[in-house]
Symmetry: C2
């Protein structure tokens, strides 16, 4: 039995962009071609000429029955079910006999043809609900020739007209390659709480807003708590893999005493010194408490740690005995290695992913930093009471904020239109997201236009470039302007829990990363 | 600058019990005396005859100018500021020249006469806000003769008519002794998120509702997440010191696969075996994920650990060398000790509070249990992906739920009335809290009637008895009825974030612990 709020949210009617209100009156028109890097063109012999598609109003288009497949890929992000409901409503609006087939547990479902025909009752049960549980998800990638062939077989067996891939950067890269191989429309939808699937055209991926608002609720509560008891330093690590978008957004929402942004690439010694200094300065003003935010991916940006990790990755690839690998480090790196807390040393040596790489996300950065800070404080005879937190899973599958509910429903409707229009190799991009949904601006962007080459497991691979925090962006500049003030004064701000009812400025705000763009 | 929601909450008007709508028409009348234990009577030569006071409507009472002091004691609980605003509005209603003096940073402020005269602008800035930050709090206790004298001096210097103590069981015990010593009205208000300050008359302490709803939001989100990815077992420890009220309430709100209730006093081996069995059974049905809740105080209830801790406390009191103390354990206890994870062994030996006792709250029960469970699983060749969480600080200082906002405002108004009526040595008790506030039933209860003797730091002391989870209570019986079903089926329930606007069944619900009483 769902909770009363879950039940109430079922009845929410997402707001829809004006152009999507009647799909029969909308068409997609190709823009002028834009140049692609030669190496990317070669990778997509069939689809490299895909153009950006703009949406426009045009007479009344004939409907046709569509059979559309869809799957989730990667970690959950709030609003996923609304992409499904928008897509379902969209294809039914286009033709009442259209069918939506959900592939189960991510790309695996496509490969193995494990599926669920999504009926109205299935969709009605998940409107505006969190999670990906209606059809599940996974991190499986479609990479081998056999997997692509299996996917093509599933497409044939289900007579699909289109396949909608809901995922992050890697999953949309995968969608581009599927578009090249499959004789149908393949459409990508930008999902990830991390906020690193962004471009000039894609203002934000879905799920980012709800995740940040959920984390910011907790951070604000903790700020108020430490301001009340004046006893603790809270070190709060935030999910978000490499990029620090979540940490930046949460910093702007909650104004803690210090937020580390990986993209600033500070050396470890400077980071530790800055935290120690903050604590010393605050103590001088009688404050022995505070709140410090750090992004999950911080450690990857610290230049000397980054070098050490890449060196260790190389050495360990050739040398299975960790002790031998260490002995081959130069003195500087060996000194750094042994200056790290013991637990981190072990993690660097022993916890490796299937590709043999160090699992950066498993490194407990918050504890690691705290240990180094406490060492620094000990030299100054200062002790703190510290508590560490990691917020991640709490924000991925929550009830989507109205922003994400509206955004995802629009993405779903748009995907239905793109399927009718036989768009392929594109990712859906909605702009002006900080305006009311009626005014949103929609386009479908060739996925290939987002791609570049980078080293993955020792090989050059064409992938969608992860968007890092832009140190010239308005939101970062705003943070830069204010952060010095937040150090000693307590400018804490409690966003409170996500609200679904009441005034629009409480329920329907867009992420600051967009509003301040 | 406060967040939009913080600002919007400033405007919320708490609902008020009918009897408190016009304080000039209410009086307190003593009930028939009830017997006290002889030993308790001896402790309170002056105030032992305090009776339960019932509220009733009666003509129009003359107002008189009141000077009331107030302080918070112990950890924050949502709604504290509403006790202050109710108290402020109440004494101003009784007489416009009345004054409210806040003592700063808890009992310390009373001892040192550090205070803040609370003006209307101060109060208006914290209405319906979280935290205790307007005047702060601390865990200092007023125990020595000098401290009682200092408190009396502060009372004289400020010409106080009454002192309102907002705190948990220990703080209200303290209030009873202050009432005995101070020549003014001393009134206790039941605060603690732990929910262990309860009696026949006190249905719940304030802050419990908001804390549980905040934790339940996170637990529900995590449940939905693990149902979507089907990869992780989440071990979630919940704050709440000894008693398991919070764990029980959260279990009823979110229906996880397993919730340990300390008061069931299961042996450690049985707890570990139950979790291992749960994981094995779920794996058989294809489920390699789940959510397990445990209360912070669990370890204190495990009989063999409890015995070991009490034995170690005794041995270590006489024997400063931990190794020597261990060698004096009998074989059974020594075997148990060495079967525990190494980190726990260290915590048992080295981390002690100022009284020399083991700091049970610092033991990372969630990791400790996980380690034992993983050991048990290894024997069966089963591996799980586990994530551990501890929710505590997130829920103490959040924006109070409407329930806590109303409840606390009523407690404040009631405290003003009790001050006018010169009630002393009493704690405020409101019943029928699951009904609309207009129908709540109010009384003031002699604190001494809640007291009993227990061993504290090796001495018999008179304290308010902590209310543990009653294994015969309707809410526990409901849990008992359903929990077997929750193990293998996923009956997860997502309460979602606390809502402040919209339908009453979404915004104004009482804790289940009361509703199902």
């Amino acid at each position: 039995m769902d909770s009363p709020l879950q039940q109430a949210r079922l009845a929410y009617k997402p707001q829809v962009p004006a152009i999507l209100e009647n799909l029969s009156e909308a068409i997609l028109v190709p823009n002028a071609p834009t140049g692609l890097e030669e190496a990317i063109v070669k990778l997509f012999p069939k689809t490299h000429s895909v153009r950006k598609l703009s949406i426009q109003k045009e007479g009344t288009q004939p409907g046709r029955k569509l059979t559309v497949g869809v799957f989730f890929s990667g970690g959950p992000a709030a609003g996923g079910h609304n992409v499904l409901s928008g897509l379902f409503d969209g294809i039914k609006q286009i033709h009442p006999d259209s069918n939506l087939i959900g592939f189960l547990d991510g790309p695996k479902g496509l490969i193995e043809n494990k599926r669920k025909i999504l009926e109205k009752s299935d969709i009605d049960a998940v409107r505006n609900q969190g999670g990906f549980d209606l059809i599940g998800s996974s991190r499986v990638k479609i990479e081998s020739k056999e997997q692509f062939e299996a996917a093509a077989k599933t497409v044939r067996e289900n007579s699909l007209d289109a396949l909608v891939v809901i995922g992050g950067d890697d999953s949309n890269t995968n969608a581009a390659f599927l578009a090249e191989v499959l004789p149908i429309s393949v459409i990508g939808v930008p999902k990830t709480i991390d906020g690193d699937l962004r471009s000039q055209e894609i203002e934000i991926s879905f799920g980012f807003d709800s995740a940040c608002k959920t984390y910011a609720e907790m951070i604000g509560n903790i700020e108020k708590d430490t301001l009340s008891t004046k006893k603790y330093y809270h070190f709060i690590k935030l999910m978000g893999r490499s990029a620090s978008h979540i940490a930046l957004e949460c910093a702007l929402l909650t104004q803690p005493n210090l937020t580390l942004i990986g993209e600033e690439k500070q050396p470890l010694t400077k980071i530790v010194a800055e935290i120690v200094d903050l604590i010393v300065q605050r103590k001088k003003t009688g404050k022995e408490y505070g709140v410090i935010l750090l992004p999950e991916g911080l450690i990857e940006f610290i230049p000397e740690i980054r070098d050490l990790i890449s060196l260790l990755n190389q050495l360990l690839a050739k040398e299975p005995k960790p002790e031998e690998a260490i002995s081959q480090l130069n003195e500087e790196n060996r000194t750094l290695f042994f200056s790290l807390p013991e637990k981190i040393q072990k993690q660097l040596l022993f916890e490796r992913d299937p590709h043999g790489n160090i699992q950066v996300s498993k490194i407990e950065t918050e504890k690691f930093l705290l240990e180094l800070v406490e060492r620094g404080l000990k030299e100054k005879n200062i002790k703190i009471n510290a508590a560490v937190h990691f917020f991640g899973y709490e924000g991925r599958s929550c009830l989507p904020s109205n922003f994400d509910a509206n955004y995802c429903y629009a993405l779903g409707l748009f995907a239905a239109l793109a399927a009718r229009e036989k768009a392929t190799g594109v990712i859906l991009a909605i702009k002006n997201l900080s305006l009311p949904p009626q005014e949103w601006d929609l386009a479908a962007i060739p996925i290939s236009s987002l791609m570049h080459f980078e080293m993955r497991s020792g090989k050059e691979k064409a992938v969608i470039a992860k968007a890092l925090v832009d140190l010239q962006s308005p939101s970062f500049l705003r943070f830069l302007r204010d952060r010095a003030d937040w150090k000693l004064e307590d400018s804490y701000r409690m966003p409170g829990p996500i609200q679904f009812f009441g005034a629009l400025d409480l329920t329907d705000t867009a992420p600051l990363a967009i509003s301040w763009r």
